[in-house]
Symmetry: C2
Subunit: 206 residues, 2 copies
Amino acid sequence: MTKIAATNVTWHHGHVDREQRYGMLKQRGTTIWFTGLSGSGKSTIAYTVEHALVERGHLSYVLDGDNIRHGLNKNLGFSPEDRTENIRRIGEVAKLFADTGVITLTSFISPYRADRDLVRKIHEEGKLPFVEVHVDVPVEICETRDPKGLYKKARAGEIKEFTGISAPYEAPLKPELTIVNTTMSVADAATQVIEYLLSKKLIPAL
Amino acid sequence: MTKIAATNVTWHHGHVDREQRYGMLKQRGTTIWFTGLSGSGKSTIAYTVEHALVERGHLSYVLDGDNIRHGLNKNLGFSPEDRTENIRRIGEVAKLFADTGVITLTSFISPYRADRDLVRKIHEEGKLPFVEVHVDVPVEICETRDPKGLYKKARAGEIKEFTGISAPYEAPLKPELTIVNTTMSVADAATQVIEYLLSKKLIPAL
């Protein structure tokens, strides 16, 4: 096996410093936490923001039901205890992503205030920015949209413990951002998030 | 609120394509999974490889006991069931990291073959590279090193189910790489990993 150029570098021990990765990426790791009812438009907005961030040259990633519920959290259900553990795990993963330097968007109903506050605390302790975004749409409107037919099933009793129908949703008291996503376009909602990140200098102007 | 440049971009829906992030990072997401006994040198090698990768301009991150056992997996112990769940969760997180484009190094004893094979399967299903690295050091040598005094405690019965003493270690049958880390320097061990990544074109030559 021939020796490679790497043998000329200084070998360091211990974890690479966060700032070194941030410098390489030219961005700081941040968690943008979308919360709101099923059908409020969380994922649509999160995906749209992800695209906008990537077009601006930022490494960005969405954690949502598709990649979490079928993977990391596939052994969890929808009981209050499991919902709490679901959010705790997602919060810890988001923290690792942010430590790596990724602008991470999470899209989960996350109905309990205490669970979201725990995730906020985890980030604060890790000195990582946490942006709670409340996608605020009344349950009556979400139920009319019902893109996945879940409200219908919940009303029929086919889904137990469905947030807004048979399980509580505790709206954030002081979210960093509220998106009243009733009549606005997805582009306007996403723009609101990008403008917030710009205003807080979490991403640089173009 | 003033309109920003972002309103000129095309708004996309759905998840950003993996290749788009890979292109931005100029690298492909990969999981490098170190397995071996306590004291075999897994973490030291992983950290050293992480530094070498970052110096080569690659976004790289180590998942290890420090950031996993006190966070995501703090509700797990060391029973066989908990060890299995520990590795499963780490495997799922590594997969998400690799999907994001990060070269992820994991440093865990991960004593059970079936658990590691499950993580391999998760990666294969996700079409993500999985590099199993066996840091191969006989238990007698690890016990003499005993950097954290754990073997001493295990012999004294103060730690139950300690791998190599009172719990089994199942060595990989076909690891991508074996590092016989008995007399070699950390630099040589790390070089072996970098050379493997180069040989498989998982990272480009400088």
